[in-house]
Every structure is written in C-alpha cells, then in structure tokens.
Symmetry: C2
Subunit: 171 residues, 2 copies
C-alpha cells in the first residue's frame, strides 16, 4: 500500500475563504480570488498573521469542495497521513486536531502529523499547495492550485485544480 | 549533514520520575525502577493514563540526565528533529512545545514533529526507547534503555543506557 502525505491548509482546509471573510469584516472590502493571483498570503491580506491567530481560524475553516468523499476513499486504498506544518503556530495544534476529528472521523490519531519542516516526511506521494514542501520531496509530488501558486510553472510537480482531479489521478 | 530523529518521552523527558512521583503522591508507595523492569508503563503504574492526563505531566517533566549539553552539540553537527508520538494525547501537544522551548531554546519550531505513528519519519538515525518505533525504521536505530525495554534483547538496534553513551556514538 502506497504511503501518501496530504497537506491540510489550502488543500483540505479552505483557509483562503477564512482570510477573505476576516478581511471583509475588518475593512468592508471583498477581495476576489482573481485579484490576488500570484501573491503570497501575507501580500494578499495585510493582517494575515492577525487572522491566523484569531480563535477558531483553523477550527472553523470550511472544507475544500469535494475533498471529504475523495479523502475517505484514499484512506481505504492508501496508507494515508494528514501532514500540517503547524508548529510555527502552536496555538493551532489543538484546533487542527479538532478540525480533523470533526470533518474526517475515519482518520485515526496515528495518521496525523504536525510538524515544522516537511523535510522529515517519508512517503511515496505528497499533495501540497506550497513548492517549499514539494521541491525537496523525493516521491511523486502533486501541486494543489491555490491563488499564491497559480501563476507559477508547476515544474516537475503534477498540478491539480480541485479534488475531482485528485480522484482521477489516485483512484 | 545526517538527519537524526530523537524521541522525547523516555529519552529527553524523564517521564518515569513523573509516574513514580504521582504514584507516590496517590498511594504513599515509592516504586523503585528495578521493581518495574520489563513492565510496560501501564503494568508498572495502575493509574498511568490518569497521570498522563494531569495538567503539567509533560510540561513539568525533568530532563534526562546529561541530555541538554549533548543535544546542543548534536544540533550543531546533525540535521536534528525532535519527534514525539503525541497525537494519542492531544492535550499534551502544547505542553510538549512549551517544554522544548523551556529546556532547549536552541531548537527551532522547524525541528519539532508531533505525530501519531513514526512510520512517516524520514531520517538517517533514530533514537527511541520503544521497539515499535525503531523496528520499522530503515536507518540506524539506537535503543535508549528504559525500565520497559531493559530485559529485552536489543536485536539489530544499538542499545545506549544514558546520554554519555549517545555522545560517544554520535559526537
């Protein structure tokens, strides 16, 4: 059974919709996704780091469309781990565990990894929206499209735009 | 630079002294380490799981003797990660981060991994006191002696009894 490491923020958890909502609450301005193509989260949302620290930012993040049923099938056919580079934000640790329990009751605690760098991860396949996590990974790499990476060439990574495309590739 | 994954509980953090202290507080009985050789933590301390859930069990754990200065040197000569199978006890996550910050200010958040299973860990060397973590690891494996493993043959793993021995092997 192949081992697969799947990122949380920006792949399973729709953190962009959280940023957009909180920016609108603070400034009354609705930022469109298209307007922030190619920008980092910090460039797109001036108070990005404040929003991340808000209580519930991670716990209340919506699911990425279509991820739940695909993840459940991946969990049956692969040795699945959810891997989040969460240690930069220690307050997020328990929120992330709660979030996984709430949305993916089929994921056991054995399958959760909260790390700082993903250079410590051993798996056959990695799905992530950040080049910094995929570039050093020796296995198959799948780049999940998000506004911050959409203008870049995926290079050796296979780009997917949504969970339907992940389903087609993996299942 | 070789990548090394070092366990926390029972290798860096002296959790046995926490168990012994809490057992004595509850029952007035001082358990000697020798009397629990070969027993799991659950067999040695009937209320083991209750103690683990006590506030501060992990945060207040003493350091294993001699570990700090050796770990600081390992951090200079290796690509060091502290890896704890902490997800079974989600309340311990933030305690463990605090504990690392308190005792090892030279360890960055990038170097911390809180996981469930260690089968996801990629490194050249692993130091751990549990066979279940070392047995599947493809690299060099160092078994740190604790009461629960002291009567077993180390097999393919190299046994060390203290941090002086780790220093001799690695530095």
């Amino acid at each position: 059974m192949q081992k697969i490491a799947i990122d949380m923020d920006g792949v399973l958890a729709d953190v962009y919709s959280q940023f957009i909502k909180m920016h609108q609450q603070e400034f009354g301005e609705l930022i469109s996704i298209e307007s922030i193509y190619g920008k980092t989260e910090g460039e797109a949302f001036v108070h990005c780091r404040k929003y991340i620290q808000a209580d519930g930012f991670f716990r209340d993040a919506p699911l990425m469309e279509g991820c739940k049923k695909v993840l459940e099938r991946i969990n049956q056919e692969y040795d699945l781990y959810l891997v989040s580079a969460a240690l930069e934000f220690p307050w997020s640790l328990i929120q992330k565990v709660d979030w996984i329990k709430q949305h993916f009751p089929f994921i056991g605690w054995q399958q959760i990894v909260l790390c700082g760098s993903k250079q410590i991860i051993a798996a056959d396949i990695m799905i992530d929206d950040h080049f910094k996590n995929l570039d050093h990974f020796p296995g198959k790499t799948i780049l999940f499209t998000q506004a911050h990476n959409i203008l870049k060439d995926a290079g050796r990574h296979q780009r997917v735009n949504n969970w339907n495309e992940i389903e087609k590739i993996l299942l």
